[in-house]
Every structure is written in C-alpha cells, then in structure tokens.
Symmetry: C2
Subunit: 348 residues, 2 copies
DNA sequence: ATGAAAGCGCTAACAC
DNA sequence: GTGTTAGCGCTTTCAT
C-alpha cells in the first residue's frame, strides 16, 4: 500500500470553474497555446495561482501519449564504479540541462544479468527517450532499441552495426595523438602507453592515437601494457613496463586513474616525474589535479558532454534537426608531470 | 512534438481477450492478487508473454493514484560539485536499491533560485516520496514538505524544527572523536583541525567530535581553521594553521578532499607526513586512497547509506514499520598518513 | 473467483 | 477563440 495523492490536489476542472471558463481553455493556457484571449488567459493564470494548481503528470501523459520523461541508462557495471568522476560529471551535465526543460530525468540501472527487464521498461512507454552512458561494448543491445525509441549515446558505439545511432563523444583519437605528439615535441623518445580495455572505444581509440603519433614520428610503438582504467591496474602495468628493462622516458596513460597508479610505481622504483619520466593522463578529473605532481592530461568536457547528450535527445524529441554525431573538443592541460621542452622544436 | 508511444503497444484489454478472461482478472494477475485461479492466472501469464505486454505506467498511476516513483532531490549547489565521490556513492546506493524494487528513481535538481518549482513538483503528485541528499542547511524548506510527502534525508537535519523528519546519517560526532582519540593515542599532542562549514551538520558534528576528544585528553583545542570541503580550501586552511607559528604534530581534516589539500601545503612547507605531522581525513573516498601517502581516514559507508535511505523510504511507503533515525557505523581506516604509536598507550 | 461499470485528470479533435 | 465530447489504459468497487 503506497502513498495516497494529496487528497485536495486541485484539478484542472476546479481551475476552470474558478476562472469561469471551460477545461479546454485551461488546458490551452497550461500548454501555452496561442489561441486564447489575454483576458481568459490571465483569469486562468490567476485561478491557477490561487489554487496552487499543478497538472497531474499521469493524466497528462495518458491523454497525450507522451511521458516527458527521459531515461538515463546506466549499465550496472558502471554504477559499481560510480565513483568515476568523469561519469559523475556526465550525469551532472545531463541533469543540469534537463532541469531547464520540461523533461524529467529517470535514472535506470541496467541490470546486466537481465537486460530484458531494462528493454521492457524502455519500450513499455515509460519514457520518451533514453540516454545511455557507458564505456562498454555492452551497448549493442540498447543500440537495437534505437529503432523504436529515440536514444542518444555517450561515447561512440563500438560496433559498426551501431554506427547509425546518435552519439556524442570526446575526440579520443585526435587528443591521444596530440598528447603523444606533445611528448615527442618536448624531446621524449621512448614513449610507453598504459592502454585501456580494447573492447571499449576510449580504450581502443586512445591506443590508436598514441600509436599514430609514434608512427608519424618514426618511433617505437611496442612499449604498451594493458590496464582496466583503475589506479591499481595502472600501477601493475607500469611495473610490467619497467620490468621489460628497456629505457622509458615518457608514459601516456589512457586515463588519469591509471596514470596515478603508474605514478606510485614510478616513485616506488625511484624514478622521478618528470625528471626521469614524463607522464600524461587522460580525462582531466580530480585525480589528475590532486596528484603529486599534478598530471599533464587531456581534459574532457564531461559536464558539457552530458549536457550535449541531453540537448541532442530533446531536440530529437521535439522534432528539431539534429546532428547524428557530435564530437566534443578536448584540451591538453600541460601541468607538472611532463618536463619542459628539451630544445625548441618546430612549432607546427 | 514528442515521441509517440509504440503504436501497437499491447494493452491489458488485448491480454484479456487472448486469455479469454476479463480485464479485471488480468489486472489481478498483474498485481498478484491471491484471488485468481491457477488456470486463469497461467492463461493470463501466457498471453502476457505472447504479446510482450507491459503495463502502462501513466494509466496505472492515474487509476491507482500512486506513481511508483521516488524523487532523488539534489540541491543545485551539490550538483555543481557532483564530482564529490561521497555523494556519487550515495546516489549509486539509492539507485542500486531501488532497482530491486518496483520504484523508479527520478533525479531532480533543486534549483536554489526558485525552490518553489521543486516544491510544486514534489507536491504535484508526481512522486510517491522523496529522498533528499544534501550537506546543507538548505534542508529546511524541504523538511516542511515532510508533512505532505514521505521523505527521507541523507544526513541529519541541521535544525531542531526538523528533528522529526526521517533520516539516515553517518555517526559523525563519534567517528570524529574516535579519529582524534587515535591521534592522541599515537602520541600527538598538538592536534589541529580543518573543519567544514558550521551550517552543515557534517561540518559541525566533526568539529564537535574533534573538540570533545581533545577536551577529554586535556589538550589545547584552539588549533582550528575553516575550510569549505574543497581541496583548495584545505590547502589554505593548512597555511593559516602553520602561519600561526605554533607547533602542530597532527591534523584532523573534516573530509578527505581538504586533507589532500592540507597535504600539498605540508609538502610545500617541507613538512613530512607522517614524520612531522600525522594527518587524518574523513570519508574514505578515492582522494584518500590515491594520495601520497594514502590517508588514514574515517570511512563512511556511502553506498550503504544511500541504499538504506531508499529502503527506509520504501518501507515507509509500503506501510512497514520504520525507525525514524538510522545511524550508519563508520570505520577508522589506519593508513600511512599517521605515524605508528610513539609508545604503547593504554588500550581502552 | 470473476466480470461489469465507473471513473482517475487530462488532451485532442471537433463543432460552434 | 472557446466549449463539447470522447477517450487514453488501467484500477477498483460492486455484484454475482
């Protein structure tokens, strides 16, 4: 037995009575239809004010066959590492943007053990559209739903068959390449990488960016070890890298958390940053800002990314023209974990 | 113009037809009423399966006058610092718990500039109950709503008039006292604190805990400087503390972020942690885990706190008996930022 | 145990 | 520009 609605909740009908008009007119005013006289409108507005009337969503939704709710789908595996500041910021961006619209944010944890439940929920007419945040390849299943429900993804889809979905992403390949180029420019020659899972676009794309920068510079691109985006995995990967016995004068980590892990291994092995090794992270989150030294990193506009996802979906829902793919620019934040240029290099 | 409902969405009526029963019976089955024959039930279930029927929330809500949605109210000021891992974990806990119930999570950003909007929304019959997370005194306004809408707060209310609201909180005073006692026990004698805003319960309670431990030990409790829970403010407060020129051999910071800030100031001034100064934080978030050295801290069960809030509210909604106040235990995580005991002290 | 009937509060044609 | 008339898909008495 759940909570009863406030008993005296004023209805549209009461407003109509008080304003001396019909329910239709009240409805028109509430939905700001242009076809209402000034007088009628103000009478209604006043009645609404007086009664403290608030439209009942369920009734409105039932009659209009629109819910005005947007689902934010969070894969369970991500929810578990919700502490990921990047993800938190994306959610924040979404919520902030939606707060300015007439849409309501419905956060749903997508149980990975029974995806059917989520599918049913999304398709059951509970929401007008969905936003999917994920670092995963797990997306496929949802991508399919795109055909029946307007959806916008955070991060590019991993697979070709999903290429026609709407998404907004950071410019991973280019930023990773630029970050690595920066390492080359300041004189590093043995540039390693700690890369992320290859079944996740950010993991894949950032490795590709690193590789392309090294290849264009004619440098060795074999110094690569895998991590899983956690600090611990970064520390582990750094150990393996050093244990190879080859010289390393720079490391590009696919995210800040792994970079922080690498930092502790480096310190443990008596290597100075940036004295012996220059270190670059990715994300620009609080990990990079509070580490010692603060990390040079690729700053992703996480909040803006979330806000943009929301904007794209709302545009889609309201029938405005929308770009299928939106790539958000990143910014290389040069801080203390990379050394100053060895010698002035060609400024491109 | 928003999204149309899936056109062919099967209705209860269709299920009834297929199963050869009335709509009422289908409704009973869907709501697992005990008053249905085995046969009837299985026929209905099969029809539901066959049609892929999903009940329409709006209709159900309109008819039952219950929404099955729970609002998670997030003050805008908090949303802005959403990167706070503690907060993120609480949200995670809420979402995770609710995912197992029949309730849906509705995240609403409470605009602080127009609280009226939020009020209206909550009271407009859009939700069955609300969860309020906040570190603020801003709570009052919502506490009032408790009378009209079942609500559960995260963190104790700041003011007496709100004492009758339901809430779940960490044991701030006791944990702060225990953490400070630990400092005393390991031999520290000049124990400073960097406290949080005094209009926020955690800020207030943790300062009180620190003070009570010092007083019971007969130590000076004047070494206190204020911060606002951000790393930068922690660094600043630490500077002011050191600039007093008095000896300091330990610092209890009201949260990990400020502790990390203090750490950088300490390093900047050439003070070793824990060599010269022992440092204790509060929260047990990723800041404390990844700092150098890792912080001794009071670990709050953030996820469990969120889950508990959700549980309490659901119990409330379903008419089960509930405790008005739930205090979650914390755990002192002794890590490398505090030195080992100087001399074996009395073990209490 | 089951069905019939009456709305829940609103929007959306359609007439006026 | 405004009112009238039907429902939206479901729950819920009330009979049976």
């Amino acid at each position: 037995m759940t909570q009863e609605l406030t008993p005296g909740a004023p209805t549209l009908e009461q407003v109509a009575a008080l304003a001396g008009v019909s329910r239709s007119t009240v409805s028109r005013v509430v939905n700001n239809s242009p076809h209402v006289t000034e007088e009628a409108a103000s009478a209604v507005l006043q009645a609404i004010e007086e009664l403290g009337y608030v439209p009942n969503r369920a009734a409105r939704s039932l009659a209009s066959r629109k819910t005005q709710v947007i689902a934010l789908v969070v894969p369970e595996s991500i929810a578990k590492v919700f502490a990921d500041p990047f993800f938190a910021s994306v959610v924040q961006g979404v919520a902030l943007h939606l707060a300015e619209t007439d849409y309501t944010l419905n956060m749903v944890i997508a149980s990975e053990t029974s995806p059917e439940k989520t599918r049913r929920y999304l398709l059951g007419g509970n929401v007008d559209g969905a936003l999917v945040v994920s670092h995963h390849s797990g997306d496929h299943s949802y991508a399919r739903l795109s055909r029946s429900l307007p959806m916008v993804f955070g991060g590019r889809p991993m697979h070709a068959e999903e290429q026609d979905s709407f998404y907004v992403d950071s410019d991973n390949v280019t930023s990773a390449r630029d970050a690595t180029r920066h390492l080359v420019r300041i004189g590093c020659r043995s540039i390693a990488t700690i890369y992320g899972p290859q079944d996740m676009p950010p993991g894949f794309d950032r490795l590709a960016g690193w590789r392309s920068a090294l290849q264009e510079a004619g440098l060795d691109d074999s110094l690569a070890e895998a991590g899983d985006f956690t600090p611990a995995s970064g520390a582990e990967a750094m150990r393996r890298l050093l244990d190879r016995g080859e010289p390393i004068d720079a490391v590009f980590a696919a995210n800040d958390q792994m970079a922080v892990g690498a930092l502790s291994t480096l310190r443990e092995r008596g290597l100075a940053v940036p004295g012996d090794v220059s270190l670059v992270g990715f994300d620009g989150d609080s990990f990079s800002a509070t580490s010692e030294p603060p990390l040079t990193t690729v700053a992703q506009p996480a909040t803006e990314l979330g806000a943009t996802m929301a904007r794209v979906l709302v545009d889609l829902l309201e029938g405005r023209p929308v770009e299928r793919v939106t790539i958000m620019p990143t910014r290389l934040l040069v801080r203390a974990s990379t050394r100053p240029p060895q010698a002035p290099e060609e400024e491109r």
